[in-house]
């Protein structure tokens, strides 16, 4: 094995992406937990922790710029580097979605108890997609990436069902308009989280095979 430092750098890049993925995952879990239990303190904590994710994104971008400028990665290494750049952006966007969910939680009006169950199902699916897509990234598992991306259809179906449910809720009870319209945004954010997980799966497939696919 030659170019030891270079290969250590590639390993470090991969490790940073996995850490960022874990932190984004926790942020999404906590944002939904705060929404479900109306925990304003936890929601505030999620908003604050977003900086950590942004720092990872910046750190990874700098790391990649240096690798390209100094090491000229090619072939599988190049696919890893360009994919990490995209995955970092997807993770950053997913975290922004979690922050948006948390920010809204602080404006939910009293008197409304719990969000519709479908929202929690969407959240669980999104969290699992993120977890599996990061596992596929770590192990370069093309099959797992494809299987994970297929889960997005379930989130999309739940999105349309829940959207209908929330609109109905508003038309039947005007006092629900504030909270339900906020929840309409929440389901959009959760649907986007699924899309970003799909993008990560696409990056994994490109890394593994060089094939560019559209799984969304």
């Amino acid at each position: 094995m030659t170019r030891t430092q270079y290969h250590n750098d590639l390993d470090a890049l991969k490790r940073n992406i996995i850490e960022m993925g874990e932190k984004s995952h926790r942020l999404i879990v906590d944002s939904v937990k705060a929404l479900d239990s109306r925990d304003i303190e936890l929601a505030g904590n999620v908003v604050q922790r977003d900086k950590e994710i942004d720092d990872y994104d910046l750190k990874i971008e700098r790391f990649i710029s240096q690798l390209i400028a100094r090491q000229s990665p090619t072939a599988g290494d190049m696919r890893l580097v360009t994919s990490c750049f995209k995955i970092s952006l997807d993770l950053e966007r997913m975290s922004d979605n979690a922050v948006d969910i948390a920010k809204g939680t602080r404006y939910l009006k009293e008197g409304y108890t719990r969000p519709p169950g479908n929202i929690l199902k969407m959240a669980e699916l999104g969290q699992e997609m993120l977890r599996q897509s990061m596992k596929a990234f770590d192990t370069l598992d093309e099959d797992l990436a494809r299987a994970t991306a297929r889960e997005d259809d379930k989130i999309d179906r739940l999105f349309y069902e829940t959207q209908k449910e929330l609109i109905e809720m508003m038309s039947q009870d005007r006092s629900m308009i504030n909270n339900a319209s906020y929840l309409l945004f929440v389901i959009r954010y959760l649907e986007r989280i699924g899309d970003h997980a799909c993008n990560i799966c696409e990056s994994v497939i490109y890394m593994a095979s060089g094939e560019r696919v559209d799984l969304n």
């Binding site: 072939a75 696919r79 060089g210």
Partner: protein
């Protein structure tokens, strides 16, 4: 770099084997090198890439104990046919070496040497020299001192002079054997720009140890290892998604 090459094949090699004495140095090489494009040969030292390059204008004929089997057709002509005049072949298939090797004579005479021995008329020689030096991207730097010694030029200028010398006999193919390995980065860039310009008129084959150079300037890349042609494909494919593990390992620096 992503031109769509529909130009056809200039060099067609089939089942080429080469032995240095008992050492079987090239194993059953078959490759189609497209016309008017740059093809790079890469691989670790001793992989056979320079040996193979030298097969393309029969430079290995000069090595005692060297035996070659197989076919090499260049623009339809079997170059190992016994009727082939090797001097004519090397006019058609020019070569530029690792170290610039100008003759110890003036800049003008270096370039005029080839056309003169191939019988160019005296009155034509001046025009040929200017054409070759312009094509070699050297004219502007030397036009005022053509009668001075070529040995006074810088390394990069000497290499461009050697390219001009090759162009002066109007070849079809130019073989470059690590043409930039003794040059600084600026001279290297000038040679690379020149190669990209020359491919419009000539078919270029280049052996290089500098993988980034192969990635920058070639349209097709061939990877050699231990006398085998492991993979040959479009350069963007070789450097983005090589099909063979050996190619991947070599170009990402995992061995070699």
């Amino acid at each position: 770099m992503s031109d769509d090459f529909t130009n056809g094949t200039e060099i067609e090699v089939r089942g080429l084997n080469l032995w240095y004495g008992t050492n079987h140095a090239l194993h059953d090489i078959s490759i189609d090198i497209p016309k008017n494009s740059v093809t790079a040969f890469i691989g670790p030292s001793g992989c056979g890439k320079s040996t193979f390059l030298r097969c393309l204008n029969r430079m290995n004929d000069l090595i005692p104990g060297c035996r070659i089997e197989g076919k090499v057709n260049i623009s339809g002509q079997d170059i190992y046919n016994k009727d082939v005049d090797v001097v004519d072949l090397r006019k058609k298939v020019g070569m530029v070496f690792q170290k610039p090797n100008p003759f110890p004579m003036s800049i003008h005479d270096n370039v005029a040497y080839g056309p003169r021995i191939h019988g160019a008329a005296k009155k034509e020689v001046g025009g040929i020299v200017e054409y070759a030096l312009r094509s070699g991207a050297l004219w502007d730097e030397v036009s005022g001192r053509l009668s001075t010694s070529a040995l006074d030029l810088s390394g990069g200028q000497q290499q461009r002079l050697c390219i001009a010398r090759t162009l002066a006999v109007k070849p079809e193919v130019i073989l470059f054997d690590e043409p930039c390995s003794s040059l600084d980065p600026i001279s290297t860039s000038k040679i690379e720009d020149l190669i990209l310009e020359l491919k419009k008129q000539y078919t270029i084959v280049i052996v290089t140890h500098n993988m980034q150079q192969a990635a920058r300037i070639s349209d097709h890349t061939a990877f050699f290892l231990l006398g085998d042609l492991i993979e040959f494909g479009r350069t963007e494919q070789i450097f983005e998604s090589p099909q063979k593990k050996e190619t991947e390992d070599y170009i990402t620096g995992r061995f070699g």
